[in-house]
């Protein structure tokens, strides 16, 4: 069936209530009954949650073939937890597992042999890149991977689309009863936002930490009342790869010029008022936008009510300097953000509070501005942030579709051409975020406003913002790079791109010319 963004979704995936994408607010007012976990009560006061090893906790948890396990990605590229757990599962010979991860990256590469030998046959994730992107692109995972945004994952857990049997939650500190936090250990992550739903909705909840502290470990991101077991391991992560030092602000003229235009668009949009709210990513241009924004705020004596998202040092600096009143944090990207988390005015929010479309109003709904990246944008303003132009999975929706749908003004910032690949083109390789939710596209060759935002076009008319139509941007890209020939795909569907409301916005097939060689197990 052809869905609302013109993508052909095979009927075989449209069953058991799964529908094709039908517009960003299609499920407004949707009524459902929340899922609930099956819980084992700890009645006796002398119960002991501490377990000696991951092997032992796998046995105690009753993990068996066909179950669903979950992980979060706050340890980012420094994560040891996923590989530690998967190695023990592999040794036990448990098969047919579904991994429901908030995101996956290069630190989780032990999943690759697990996918190849059928230990893992299903995956739900936001990030799908590096070796994991390759193995899934090559069609080695038995069932198509489900790519979910951060809000979409929170929704899927709460509405019961995903039932987690055992959640493994890495935490930098925990007390013996499982009150766990991302602060205070040697592997600090600041917040544990993406694990909140896992702890509340999984049947069994396991905290994996490398530092047991005295009770109560407050403020506890994960509450001990939700936790079955606590395992202490030598190390849950490589601190140097969890939160990097200061992300250097770009000196790239192209990125700085784009950042300047982004800030200018915000300034002239009509939404730049005292108490405004915004979210920005960690990419070069997005980060640089904060310094131009600061200049506008100082000039007009305007303060930001709150900044949200993956938090970075530039945001923390604006907060400390009084330009930003409050910080809502769902992920800490660098050491400054980790250190600032849980200080006065810097609040941790859960993935559901952040972006879930099915709760009673997530913070994304209250955003004035969001600044986002793109691998590709098409002339209908649809954005791809998941699949490379060569067809291989190499990205992550993260909060992209969620914030774009929620914010008053969603701004894409991307160079017109990257290594010859036109960013703006006739048709994106796959749709992650529908054009209906994208308002402005800022490139190094001009700024395109979605024609449905006549208010913004009017507001920008008398400014020096270099306005172009999206078709003009595409034509420029094709003029410099040439029109790309379409990449050929096999029929095999390797991943489903789920929109945040659970409808299917696109399917991703196996690229025809993909060379994939099996990864030798002895590499690990």
């Amino acid at each position: 069936m052809i869905n609302q963004v013109g993508r052909d979704i095979p009927d075989v995936y449209l069953k058991d209530g799964v529908e094709p994408f039908q517009g960003i607010y299609y499920r407004d007012d949707y009524e459902y009954t929340k899922a609930a976990p099956t819980v084992h009560a700890y009645v006796k006061p002398n119960g002991d949650k501490l377990v000696d090893s991951i092997h032992d906790v796998l046995i105690k948890s009753g993990l068996k073939d066909g179950m669903t396990i979950s992980f979060h990605h706050h340890l980012r590229d420094g994560d040891f937890v996923v590989n530690l757990v998967m190695k023990e599962i592999h040794k036990l010979g448990i098969k047919n597992l579904t991994v429901c991860a908030s995101s996956l990256g290069r630190a989780h590469n032990y999943l690759v042999p697990c996918i190849e030998d059928g230990t893992v046959t299903g995956i739900s994730t936001s990030g799908i890149r590096d070796e994991i992107g390759e193995v899934i692109s090559a069609g080695k995972l038995k069932h198509p991977a489900i790519i979910r945004s951060h809000g979409g994952r929170a929704r899927a857990i709460e509405d019961g689309s995903v039932k987690i049997d055992v959640a493994f939650i890495g935490a930098s500190t925990s007390d013996a009863y499982g009150n766990a936090s991302g602060k205070g250990g040697q592997s600090d992550t600041g917040v544990l936002s993406y694990a909140d739903g896992d702890a509340k909705y999984a049947d069994k909840v396991v905290i994996i930490t490398d530092k047991i502290v005295a009770a109560p470990n407050f403020p506890a991101s994960i509450k001990g009342v939700d936790v079955d077991y606590v395992v202490k391991v030598d190390s849950i992560g490589d601190a140097s790869k969890i939160a990097s030092g200061a992300l250097r602000l770009t000196k790239d003229t192209r990125e700085l010029n784009m950042a300047k235009e982004v800030a200018k668009c915000m300034y002239h949009s009509g939404y730049f008022k005292n108490g405004f709210t915004f979210q920005t990513g960690a990419g070069g241009s997005s980060l640089a936008t904060t310094s131009f924004l600061k200049a506008y705020m100082a000039k007009d004596n305007i303060k930001c009510g709150w900044a949200m998202g993956g938090i970075t040092e530039p945001i923390v600096n604006l907060f400390n300097e009084g330009f930003v009143n409050k910080v809502l944090d769902d992920q800490a990207f660098d050491l400054a953000a980790v250190a600032s988390a849980h200080t006065k005015g810097h609040f941790e929010i859960s993935a559901s509070q952040y972006a879930n479309p099915f709760n009673k109003g997530a913070f994304v709904n209250q955003l004035n501005f969001v600044i986002l990246g793109a691998l590709e944008v098409d002339t209908a303003f649809n954005v791809n942030v998941v699949q490379g132009s060569n067809g291989v999975l190499r990205g992550a929706p993260g909060g992209h579709p969620d914030t774009a749908a929620g914010a008053d003004v969603s701004i894409i910032v991307a160079p017109l051409i990257r290594s010859r690949m036109p960013t703006v083109r006739d048709r994106v390789t796959s749709v992650t975020t529908p054009g209906e939710s994208i308002d402005i596209v800022v490139t190094d060759y001009g700024v395109a406003v979605n024609p449905k935002r006549q208010d913004l076009l009017k507001a920008f008319a008398d400014t020096d913002i270099p306005l172009k139509t999206i078709e003009e941007l595409r034509d420029l890209a094709y003029q410099y790079a040439g029109k790309p020939e379409p990449v050929e795909f096999d029929d095999q569907v390797v991943a489903l791109v789920e929109y945040r409301d659970g409808t299917i916005i696109d399917v991703i097939r196996k690229p025809k010319r993909l060379n994939y060689s099996q990864k030798a197990l002895d590499k690990f």
Partner: protein
């Protein structure tokens, strides 16, 4: 034009191409390894053939390793490698380049 020596131009940086020209006794051979092979491979090979023809480059192997360079870059790298390979450092025919 006969190639005197093996020569190289360009880098493996993103948006550049590295072109190596080697002597070959049996005609012109072009090989392409490109980060955008699927989308622009045929076009780049046609461009290289056209450039070689303009330069009257014969009996040579042209190895192109492309990292997403635009046409102007690829052409310039081939031309530079060519003039290095025939050891011509001055009096370049700019009007045909």
């Amino acid at each position: 034009m006969k190639i005197k020596t093996q020569a190289v131009a360009g880098t493996l940086e993103s948006s550049d191409a590295q072109v190596m020209i080697l002597p070959n006794s049996s005609g012109l051979k072009i090989t392409l390894d490109s980060s955008v092979y699927d989308q622009y491979g045929k076009h780049i090979i046609a461009l290289a053939e056209q450039t070689a023809k303009t330069l009257q480059l014969e009996d040579a192997t042209v190895k192109i390793v492309d990292k997403g360079a635009l046409d102007c870059t690829i052409k310039a790298r081939i031309e530079t490698a060519f003039y290095r390979a025939i050891d011509q450092q001055s009096g370049l025919p700019w009007e045909v380049l």
